[in-house]
């Protein structure tokens, strides 16, 4: 078990290391220098050279890479090529915003998906189950940004119940914060919930056909109780996998949703950085998002160990 843990940890560290190379590599294969990109084609050679010197972009690539990675390890993300501001503090703010979005919508997705998925599985031969299943199929087909636009059209434009966009930090005005949070979280959470519900459904369907459920029923457990006592934990194994994979999708969804609702999170930051051609900022934010995904994958592996005793024993 400890070996498995260590090997997963090693994979995590290796993946992070390779990610830094990939992300940095992308920026290096670039034709011309980041300074030229930042300043635009019309900038004078002198100003480009000056920017390069200021940010050490004239040093060998290897040195720049080590410098960047060293900075990452100290949470020093460097300074923006465009605004020259320290990146770390502004990313920290944006990260907080994105975390609010991602965490609340994941919770919402789970709250929707688990009961709904189980219900769809248990009633898969009845009209109600088929109907729910069809609805969830439609939910899966709607991208989060489309859900966002449609929700705004309905609740903000038509009904005027909720603000169409904007962001207020919770410490400033909790009521406003919540009002503005509702629609983006609904857009992300409903769609993720639909996707997840389908996986819960198929996992539960598979488990329902297992022999041990029949054994449990032969003991005298009623079908639903047998499923809850014996099935859910086993069904959780594939669902947790998907949950981990979905997080990457959710992060991307958040990037797009932040654009729809004009929320100053990492996604908006990333898109702004792309628009401003601020490559160091792009590099940092992408690295941050990738790190988040990799860490979640690692946590998923740990969850397996908790759920499945077969992985815990020495084999």
């Amino acid at each position: 078990m400890i070996l498995r843990l260590l090997s997963r940890l090693a994979v995590l560290v290796a993946s992070l290391a390779v990610s830094t190379m990939v992300v940095f590599g992308f920026m290096v294969v670039l034709p011309g220098s980041p300074a030229r990109v930042a300043l635009g084609v019309n900038a004078s050679d002198a100003s480009v050279a000056q920017l390069e010197q200021e940010f050490g972009l004239d040093r060998p690539k290897g040195v720049q890479y080590l410098d960047w990675v060293g900075g990452l390890l100290r949470f020093d993300l460097g300074r923006s090529y465009v605004s020259r501001a320290e990146i770390a503090p502004q990313i920290a703010d944006r990260l907080q915003v994105t975390l609010w979005l991602v965490v609340t919508s994941t919770v919402l997705a789970l709250v929707i998906a688990v009961p709904l998925g189980v219900l769809m599985a248990v009633r898969h031969r009845r009209a109600s189950g088929v109907l729910l299943s069809a609805l969830s199929q439609v939910g899966v087909a709607v991208p989060a940004f489309l859900a966002g636009v449609l929700l705004v059209a309905l609740f903000s434009v038509r009904l005027g119940w909720l603000p169409a966009n904007g962001w207020t930090p919770p410490v400033e005005d909790p009521a406003m914060f919540l009002e503005q949070l509702v629609l983006p979280v609904l857009s992300l959470g409903l769609v993720q919930g639909a996707v997840l519900a389908r996986y819960v459904r198929s996992a539960v369907l598979d488990v329902m056909r297992e022999d041990y459920i029949r054994t449990a029923r032969a003991k005298g457990l009623r079908p639903m109780r047998a499923l809850v006592r014996h099935g859910l934990r086993n069904a959780a194994i594939p669902v947790v996998t998907v949950l981990g994979l979905q997080l990457a999708t959710l992060l991307v969804g958040a990037v797009v949703i932040e654009r729809v609702f004009v929320i100053p999170g990492l996604g908006s930051g990333l898109l702004d950085a792309v628009a401003n051609r601020d490559l160091i900022l792009v590099q940092d934010i992408v690295m941050l998002l990738v790190t988040a995904v990799l860490i979640v994958n690692f946590v998923v592996d740990l969850l397996y160990l908790v759920i499945d005793p077969r992985l815990r024993s020495v084999r």
Binding site: L3, L6, R310, V314, R315
Partner: protein
């Protein structure tokens, strides 16, 4: 293993090669107890398959960073000699190594050490690409009629496969001849495996095995997945073909009664070793080894049951010898 002399090597591989092989020979000859068919010891001119101290070890995944995973011996020094034209059985319970042994004879797996000779040629060191002569001479019938035929191939392609794979001509007449020789009609050739019953699929498997005109037929539990009413048909077919084509048959089974019907000589395996070897009737009627005795005593037999043999009697028979401790499941 209760008979200490029959346990030649401790699980560690400390013992030297020579001692071990001597001891293996010793088991073989002793358990044959002077019978004239005692050909297990090297030296029989007519032997077509000869195994010398064959060992196969599998390495489990490592449990610690510091040392490699534990080694699990599947075969602990098997020495066998199978004569040309002989019907030879290998029996044992799950995990005893009988299937590993068969795969090694078939050149589908390589022993960790020891020598495997087929028709006088050493095969244990050869790469799969150099086993052409073996594929010519030796063919295989496997256990599971559901999984041993490719569901996406027509029967004619399945039967022709050994010929196609070896780049030999495979005219339709030959394929028809093969399929008819196993009791199916030629119109079976254009159909797919799922259109056949278990017994018919085993017939197709046999036709495929016969395609390259082999001299040796290896059968791995060929009837254990079949219904009783179909089992007899397939056993008859195998025996008839072996006789007609003068094949050497190596028949692996967990079922001692089936082996008794099919084979002249049998090797009983336990925990990677041959514990007893001899003429089938003798092994069955007067088992020399406690393990063989328990194996025979545990079989629920219709006739003895009607004579009043109960489950308690079976259990007592099974427990008479030391049964290896239940091994953890393999999954």
């Amino acid at each position: 293993m209760t008979d200490p002399s029959a346990a030649p090597q401790p699980p560690s591989q400390a013992a030297s090669q020579t001692t071990e092989s001597l001891e293996s020979d010793a088991i073989a000859s002793r358990s044959n107890s002077g019978d004239s068919v005692a050909s297990a010891v090297a030296g029989n001119e007519s032997s077509i398959i000869r195994l010398q101290d064959v060992r196969r070890e599998f390495r489990r995944p490592r449990r610690s960073l510091l040392q490699p995973g534990p080694v699990v011996p599947a075969l602990r020094g098997v020495t066998l000699d199978i004569a040309a034209g002989e019907r030879f059985g290998i029996v044992g319970e799950s995990g005893c190594g009988k299937s590993t042994l068969l795969r090694i004879i078939a050149g589908l797996d390589r022993p960790t050490s020891g020598s495997v000779q087929v028709a006088g040629r050493e095969i244990s060191g050869l790469r799969e690409g150099r086993l052409g002569f073996l594929r010519d001479q030796m063919q295989l019938v496997l256990q599971d009629p559901m999984s041993s035929l490719d569901p996406r191939m027509r029967v004619r392609d399945i039967i022709a496969e050994p010929l196609v794979a070896q780049g030999k001509p495979h005219p339709r007449t030959r394929i028809v001849e093969l399929v008819e020789s196993v009791g199916l009609s030629a119109d079976a050739l254009d159909r797919y495996p799922h259109q056949f019953s278990g017994g018919q699929r085993q017939r197709i498997s046999i036709a495929r095995a016969l395609a390259p005109d082999p001299r040796i037929l290896l059968a791995d539990e060929p009837v254990s997945a079949l219904d009783v009413s179909v089992r007899a048909q397939v056993l008859n077919l195998i025996l008839e073909i072996v006789e007609r084509l003068d094949l050497t048959l190596v028949f692996v089974s967990h079922d001692l009664s089936v082996v008794r019907h099919v084979c002249e000589r049998v090797a009983v395996m336990q925990a990677g070793e041959v514990v007893e070897i001899g003429p089938t009737d003798q092994v069955y009627d007067e088992p020399a080894q406690p393990y063989t005795r328990s194996l025979v005593a545990a079989i629920p037999h219709l006739r003895t049951a009607l004579e009043g043999r109960t489950a308690a009697d079976l259990a007592a028979g099974a427990a008479a010898a030391t049964v290896p401790p239940d091994r953890p499941g393999e999954n």
